[in-house]
């Protein structure tokens, strides 16, 4: 690039070198200062990704926060915590209870109508010191790929300009190499060689490697140590509650055990359901009582059915069979009807009753029967 008689391009490239190095050094120094300051002061930058802390802190704000122990957290502090799902939430403390160095925080976004559903239990939290509106957008932009690429390019360019082009040994060292060559051409190659020899290449390379190695270690350490800005959700939330009411039925006594008719050897008892619903949801339990003995007829009469046949065998099962020795005798049997539901519900109060007659049969009187009284 710097051929004899072409000094203008040479000056331009020098200007470029200065710009790249100065710009790199300035931005780099700023970053280093910020990193060191952040580490020393324990400051964590927060980028607000949403606006539930509005209007105090809007979406896109960059806030600086400082880690404080649980004991120092107070109601109305704006703090940043991690939710159970690992998301950073920054909201205002609505209540705080400290126990054994751990605080249970109820947080609420200023723009939210309700506090966060999840209480946070923390040993420490980042308390927001102040915020800069919109600055979070800039920080976020810096993380974009194109800006990252340009930054890398700048660093790479600066390193290239400063550490190559010496011309001692690298063929591709560019302008400086050619310039040296040109000078060498005028004075002969020997002085150049002598100069190079005066500063042994080995020492130079070693020196450079040590320097760069040290710098790399420092940089790597700083990168690990600095507090990285973290995105935080000032998460919105909302609630809505639907409600309904339920009441329980009271099973009605079947007061109208209305019908009794002969049905073969037995009788058919009929009733009407007293369920307040046309659905006739109640099952019915028919109980026979003979003297001191009583038994429920099983199974209960299904809902929707409103009759039950009572046969001699039913009465015998209820204790009527005890009377079987009495020739030609007849015994009154009390029928009781109750409504049931589910597995435990049964109608209370006085049940409907009706009396039927059990007649023991014999060779003289014929079949054993149950008849309406």
């Amino acid at each position: 690039m710097s051929r004899p008689g072409h000094r203008e391009p040479a000056r331009r490239s020098l200007a470029w070198r200065t710009v790249v190095l100065n710009l790199g050094a300035t931005l780099g120094t700023l970053c280093i200062i910020a990193a060191i300051a952040g580490t020393v002061l324990g400051v964590t930058p927060l980028v607000f990704r949403s606006g539930s802390m509005a209007p105090a802190i809007e979406t896109g704000a960059l806030a600086l926060s400082r880690t404080v122990p649980a004991e120092e957290l107070r109601v109305d502090d704006v703090v940043s915590v991690l939710s159970a799902s690992g998301v950073r939430i920054t909201h205002r403390i609505q209540s705080v209870e400290v126990e054994h160095g751990r605080a249970t925080l109820v947080l609420k976004g200023d723009a939210n109508q309700v506090p966060d559903a999840e209480p946070y239990v923390v040993a420490s939290a980042e308390r927001v010191l102040f915020d800069v509106p919109k600055a979070g957008y800039a920080v976020s932009m810096v993380s974009s790929r194109i800006v990252t690429f340009l930054g890398g390019l700048l660093v790479g360019g600066a390193l290239l300009l400063a550490f190559t082009g010496r011309g001692e040994s690298h063929a591709g060292a560019g302008g400086r190499r050619r310039a040296t060559s040109r000078r060498s051409q005028t004075k002969g190659s020997a002085p150049t060689r002598r100069r190079t020899a005066a500063r042994p290449a080995n020492t130079g390379v070693k020196h450079r490697m040590v320097t760069m190695g040290a710098v790399a270690v420092v940089v790597a350490g700083a990168v690990v140590g600095i507090p990285h800005p973290v995105g935080t959700l000032a998460a919105w939330s909302d609630t809505a509650t639907v409600t309904g009411s339920l009441t329980a039925d009271t099973l009605t006594v079947q007061s109208n055990l209305v019908g009794c008719a002969t049905q073969g050897d037995g009788v058919r008892l009929t009733w009407t359901s007293q369920d307040t619903f046309a659905a006739s949801r109640y099952k019915h339990r028919v109980t026979l009582t003979v003297g001191a003995n009583s038994a429920d007829l099983t199974p209960d009469v299904a809902a929707g059915t409103s009759h039950r046949d009572v046969m001699p065998s039913d009465v015998e099962g209820a204790g009527g069979g005890l009377l079987g020795g009495l020739l030609g005798s007849s015994t009154n049997v009390t029928v009781t009807l109750r409504a049931t539901a589910g597995t435990t519900w049964i109608s209370g109060g006085d049940p409907a009753t009706r009396t039927i007659v059990y007649r023991e049969g014999s060779w003289l009187l014929g079949e054993t029967t149950v008849r309406c009284s």
């Binding site: 606006g51 559903a117 995105g231 509650t241 409600t243 659905a279 006739s280």
Partner: protein, 209 residues
């Protein structure tokens, strides 16, 4: 650069040294790049979707009702004179009337004498109305359209009614339906009781929270 530098070796050497220093200082930029780089991680992680920043509003309604701070009484979610084994179905929509996607979840709660004996089962995505049958000889039974999100759960445990939070995009709605059932073995002593209230609070959280 070559000409100047070549003609003044001393200055050239010092220029090189300062150039090296500046180049090394520029490495500090890596800090700047590395730091906001964590943001890229956030936006790529599963807990964040869409853009880095969300501004707008988050609002949830139930069938067009804010239902907050005052509860919304759904007249379908009511049944009088229940007997054991009966159930009622009520359907409504969860509406995202804000401008950001949210995740919602609901908790089934009940107070009152029947509360320990109630179960709730959730259905989503149904079209049409639930049916509440009352045929002769039958208990009243609520049936929901849509897909069941799981088996019935006891309301006494205040369960989350959905097995996982449900995302709902801005300006969309989802149909939900609940069957609330009185257990078949509800104790006899609870006949005629009143004042049982079912409350299903819904919570919507911004995606990622």
């Amino acid at each position: 650069m070559s000409k100047h530098a070549a003609s003044r070796p001393a200055r050239r050497r010092s220029g090189h040294r300062s150039g090296k220093v500046r180049a090394l200082l520029s490495l500090g930029l890596l800090l700047g790049i590395a730091a906001p780089g964590t943001l890229a991680y956030w936006s790529d992680s599963a807990t964040m979707q869409g853009g880095n920043f969300s501004s707008g509003t988050l609002n949830m309604q139930l069938s067009g009702n804010e239902a907050n701070p005052d509860n919304w009484t759904n007249i379908a979610l009511a049944l009088g004179d229940m007997v054991p084994g009966e159930s009622v179905a009520a359907a409504f929509t969860v509406d995202n009337t804000g401008t950001v996607t949210f995740n919602y979840q609901a908790t089934g709660t009940a107070t009152g004498p029947l509360a320990p004996h109630l179960t709730i089962q959730a259905f989503v995505g149904g079209t049409g109305d639930p049916t509440n049958s009352a045929g002769a000889g039958n208990l009243r039974t609520g049936t929901c359209p849509g897909t069941s999100t799981g088996s019935a759960q006891s309301l006494s445990a205040s369960p989350l009614v959905f097995p996982a939070v449900r995302p709902l995009a801005a300006s969309t709605s989802e149909s939900v339906c609940f069957v609330v059932k009185l257990a078949i073995d509800t104790p006899d002593a609870l006949q005629g009781t009143t004042g049982t209230v079912v409350e299903i609070p819904f919570t919507a959280n911004q995606l990622g929270a």
